[in-house]
Subunit: 183 residues, 2 copies
């Protein structure tokens, strides 16, 4: 996960439209955080509501997950690669997850994972080191990202703990148990 590997994982969410994507983009960011990414970038239109929602989760549930709006996402991808990182684009048109995940996992490069919005520009397929499909069916960038990170971290993210959490959960067969871990 973020703090525990030699490499870092960030997510890049393309083409955010506040009205239409508000909740799905928030879910993308929260899934990124829960499944072990260090932070996320997004392009499209700035949305302070989404940023605030994620910040509030981080303040309550801990960790250092960050969200940053970027104007020029092509420059961000190029910069990432120039700095030695690799770029993984999740798309239903790419290579099957199980054919590539082992190579991606063992590469030791920082990973930028791109998830698109409605229409992904062609150049993304060219700029990415890996175009990876999570099933060959239409579904959701949220489930694609969750399953990709789950495979990348081989399930270890399921027990990840987050530093400086105000509250935590004690697993229960039924009902909820929440404990305050600091004020």
């Amino acid at each position: 996960m973020c703090e525990e590997n030699n490499w870092e994982v960030f997510v890049l969410r393309l083409g955010h439209r506040p009205e239409r994507d508000k909740r799905v983009t928030t879910h993308v960011f929260l899934a990124a955080r829960a499944f072990g990414a260090c932070g996320a970038f997004y392009s499209g239109q700035r949305d302070e509501g989404v940023e605030r929602s994620v910040k509030k989760v981080v303040e309550t549930w801990g960790g250092n997950f960050t969200v940053q709006f970027i104007e020029d996402w092509i420059a961000k991808i190029r910069e990432w690669r120039k700095n030695g990182g690799e770029v993984i684009h999740l798309t239903m048109y790419g290579l099957p997850l199980n054919e590539v995940i082992q190579k991606i996992r063992s590469s030791n490069k920082d990973k930028l994972i791109i998830v698109g919005g409605a229409k992904v520009p062609k150049i993304v397929y060219e700029l990415a080191d890996w175009n990876v499909s999570i099933t060959f069916q239409p579904h959701s960038e949220v489930s694609a990202l969750g399953v990709f990170l789950h495979e990348l971290y081989m399930g270890k993210e399921l027990n990840k703990t987050f530093e400086n959490a105000k509250i935590g959960i004690i697993p229960q067969e039924r009902g909820k148990m929440i404990v305050r871990t600091r004020s």
Copy 2:
């Protein structure tokens, strides 16, 4: 998957609100379909737009995935159990996925997987056979469902084929290749 196991999987999405949840609920249903469930039920408010979106995907991409609105979801859960099925509620407060998935996988009972909306009524925790957490962090019902089904089917769903698809995808390192499989 749906047609290939002794047991069937359906998803129950609680408390749908058309305005707010339109896209997330659609993503829940598409993830359910892509990751091998047979169909879904939902409660809350009827939303023909969401039903149409999913139907269109099924017509194009194949399979028999169905979506059905139900008024009385408590009766549905009770009926499911009465008919010998088991009920799995995905919640961040439940037991860890890796502690329970093997038992759920090997039970041979039809599985109804419940994913909640904003506020899940207490009775769900009581009615469910299993309350299962996919990480102990807040994220998304879409990523929770994707990862749960991925583990339930042990990754075999990634290569699932859908009968009567009009189009299909040929995996590519770069770009898109779509083939028409029938008119």
